[in-house]
């Protein structure tokens, strides 16, 4: 009985906060735009009884999904989002791995402090942190002034409002999600394994490739998914740091919703995005399961 209650809690949570909202969004995506409040039709009218329900379902169709395929904008936005998220994830990995490695090799008494420093940025608002990057990256920003000050460049670089700025923003924001799983994988690793590899004739670099990387694989996979999944749908970073040519699905969705007030199309975009994200999520879960089995 207690077991049932314990299991029921997360399921109820999922039902109320994920499944119900998703069904609502799915329903809107199948509706038509209307000049009404809310701005779509049909609405379910239970006063009309059985006929009302039938009329409601008759009004639903896949028109909006068909529409998404007719306009290049949408699939280009999806593709570009995936590409930006993938590149940003790779960059985060390249930055995060050495940090995690350094933390795992640091003296024991230092590690809690280092962990704290990684998590510390979360104490300020995400929006403020992204805004502050504008101050750093803009033409008159801190970075350009510094680089010109030391004489490295003659005229300011244009970083803000480009894809580069978006990458910087994503790497910065999601770095802790990359560092923490890799750190926890590396920390568990027995250092004598590296000594054993060296003892058996491999150089330090070879030992890293043959032992450290394979043993931190689970951390790398987890970190990559934790960065990739949210950054596909990222909206704030591309809209604040990106330029007019930065095409990301989160931004498209926002514009459909608030600028065009086309809720049904916006919902259709959201449903497709979710379907796209399900693939990496399922892959992620499978790899987690494998990791659990191996780590027994």
């Amino acid at each position: 009985m207690r077991r049932a209650v314990l299991i029921a809690v997360p399921y109820l949570w999922l039902l109320a906060l994920f499944l119900v909202p998703f069904i609502i969004v799915l329903k809107i995506s199948l509706s038509d735009i209307a000049l009404a409040r809310p701005p779509y039709a049909p609405q379910l009218d239970l006063n009309e009884g059985w006929a009302g329900i039938r009329a409601f379902f008759a009004g639903l169709d896949f028109e909006n999904f068909t529409f998404l395929t007719t306009d290049d904008l949408y699939w280009k936005a999806y593709l570009s989002s995936v590409r930006i998220a993938a590149v940003a994830t790779l960059c985060t990995l390249l930055v995060g791995y050495p940090i995690a490695y350094g933390m795992a090799r640091a003296p024991h008494e230092w590690r809690p402090t280092l962990l704290m420093l990684v998590i510390l940025p979360f104490w300020t608002s995400f929006l403020i942190r992204v805004y502050s990057w504008i101050g750093i990256l803009s033409t008159e920003g801190v970075l350009n002034q510094f680089l010109m000050g030391i004489g490295l460049i003659g005229e300011p670089l244009t970083i803000l409002n480009t894809n580069t700025a978006v990458y910087i923003g994503i790497v910065y924001t999601y770095l802790p999600f990359m560092i923490l799983p890799i750190y926890s994988a590396l920390e568990k690793m027995d250092e004598s394994l590296l000594e054993a590899a060296e003892d058996l004739g491999s150089s330090r670099l070879a030992a890293f490739w043959l032992v450290t990387i394979p043993l931190s694989r689970n951390g790398i996979v987890a970190g990559c998914f934790l960065v990739f999944i949210p950054s596909i749908g990222e909206f704030v970073i591309p809209s604040l740091l990106g330029g007019s040519d930065t095409l990301m699905i989160g931004k498209v969705l926002w514009e459909e919703f608030f600028s065009n007030r086309d809720w049904p199309v916006a919902s259709a975009v959201a449903v497709v995005l979710l379907l796209i994200l399900i693939i990496p999520i399922v892959l992620f879960q499978r790899s987690e399961e494998k990791a659990r089995e191996a780590g027994r």
């Binding site: 394994l193 054993a196 003892d199 058996l200 004739g201 032992v211 394979p214 043993l215 191996a294 027994r296």
Partner: protein
């Protein structure tokens, strides 16, 4: 490999495989290895034994290349390897934690070192197969380390470290994680493999039984120095210090003051039997009474006269100023007789080798005779190290050079043997071991019994008190 023949450390011609030359290793202020010089020979099974923190692991890590000596040289086949990185040494190590690669199968673990050498595939395969056979792991080749038992993991680690056929194999507490029965089996397996492969093994352990079982020589370490290096029997029977005696096996340490015994026993007294019917405590007390006068061996005038008259034709001229020498541990059968100079009215009824020391160890107790003691220790504070199994225990006073009376306080029954904790009059606790040749129900000694402990004049080892 005949055990009696294999002793390269006694052969001045033998070329050592490993030479430590004045090796010192410091970590900051801490000196882990202190000016150590030691040779290790090919095909040896050399054990480094000591408590944790004595520097044995540091010594091993320097051989493997994980630590560099602060001072001194480490030579392998005459070449200084002190600063050669671990991956460039013909030395392999079996780690205490085994350090098996968890992401690789047993086969790939064993092949790891061979693949780094970029050997041809079929050669690697043949060598791995050979190692799997040697360690009886054929059936587990495709398993991952977490899918096999602790004993099997231990064998994988051994196979992996032997695969590259190193000149020297280092074993860091290789059997620590195994239970007693498996450990004992594995010890013999190790010796067997060592003999088959002809590799030089150096084993680090804190388990003295393990060291004694497997090793050809044992080095006992303490605070960064090797205290004694010898074969297991010498380490056990003739430790050179209280530390070694105490570290190896069970031992009774009796502290006291040494007093030299006369070394000269005129041979003619052999003929004279000494029928002493009364082995009462009295003679022992009188024996200790005139001790101060006998502090140093004196010329034996009466013995000299007897010699000149009766024995010079047989034994030749009397040797003046015979050099004082250390009696061998097993003194020759020279019955001690009524030495003319001895003032003791009633000598021991038993045959006691001459010379050595007497040890005054307790007020009101007879001195202990240690015929194998070094007379040079005369007057010094000494410790008599006495192994429990060399003590006899009986309810009646036996005929023995040394007897101690006491009360049984505790009996540790170990099945095959029993250890008796006996409190000697005066409060000293002494352990004596006796084989349980009779069934326990018929054991005649029990708690609170008055017993006599006895031991021969050469049973103990006299060591300088530190």
């Amino acid at each position: 490999m005949a055990e009696s023949v294999f002793a390269p450390w006694n052969d001045p011609e033998a070329k050592p495989l490993i030479q430590f030359k004045g090796v010192t290793k410091r970590f900051g202020d801490f000196t882990a290895i202190d000016d150590l010089t030691q040779n290790i020979y090919e095909r040896e099974f050399f054990a480094l034994l000591g408590p944790s923190g004595c520097g044995k692991t540091t010594l091993m890590r320097m051989l493997a290349g994980f630590e560099e000596p602060t001072e001194g040289q480490i030579l392998l086949n005459g070449v200084d390897i002190g600063h050669v990185p671990p991956n460039k040494r013909a030395v392999n190590m079996m780690f205490q934690s085994y350090a098996l690669f968890p992401h690789l199968s047993v086969y790939d673990n064993i092949a790891f070192g061979l693949r780094r050498e970029k050997k041809p595939k079929d050669e690697i395969h043949a060598r791995v197969k050979e190692m799997l056979r040697l360690t009886r792991l054929d059936r587990f080749a495709q398993r991952k380390p977490h899918q096999i038992s602790g004993g099997q993991r231990q064998r994988v680690a051994l196979a992996r470290s032997l695969a590259k056929a190193p000149k020297l194999l280092l074993l860091d507490e290789p059997l620590g994680a195994l239970d007693k029965k498996l450990r004992e089996e594995t010890q013999f397996e190790l010796m067997d493999i060592q003999e088959k492969t002809g590799t030089t093994f150096i084993i680090v352990t804190h388990d003295q039984e393990e060291a004694m079982t497997v090793a050809s020589r044992v080095a006992v370490m303490d605070e960064g120095r090797i205290v004694q290096v010898a074969t297991p029997d010498v380490i056990y029977e003739a430790p050179n210090s209280v530390y070694v005696a105490d570290f190896i096996g069970d031992v009774n340490l009796i502290r006291g003051t040494a007093r030299a015994r006369p070394t000269d026993t005129p041979p003619e007294t052999v003929a004279k039997p000494e029928p002493e019917p009364k082995p009462a405590p009295a003679p022992r007390e009188t024996a200790s009474a005139p001790a101060p006068e006998r502090a140093a061996p004196q010329p034996n005038t009466l013995g000299r006269a007897l010699h000149d008259k009766l024995l010079s034709p047989i034994f030749g001229k009397w040797l003046e100023d015979e050099p004082r020498r250390l009696p061998p541990p097993t003194a020759p059968e020279a019955p001690r007789a009524a030495a003319p100079e001895t003032t003791a009215p009633s000598p021991q009824p038993q045959d006691i080798p001459p010379g050595g020391l007497e040890i005054d160890w307790s007020e009101g107790q007879a001195a202990i005779i240690a015929a194998n003691g070094d007379p040079a220790l005369d007057g010094e504070k000494v410790v008599l190290a006495l192994r429990p199994e060399k003590l006899g225990i009986a309810k009646t006073r036996p005929q023995a050079p040394n007897t101690l009376k006491g009360k049984v306080i505790d009996i540790a029954y170990l099945g095959n043997i029993s250890t008796y904790h006996v409190e000697i009059e005066g409060g000293v606790m002494v352990k004596a071991q006796a084989a349980n040749t009779r069934r326990i129900a018929r054991r005649d000694i029990t708690w609170e019994d008055e017993v006599w402990l006895s031991f021969t004049a050469t049973a103990g080892v006299v060591l300088k008190d530190e």
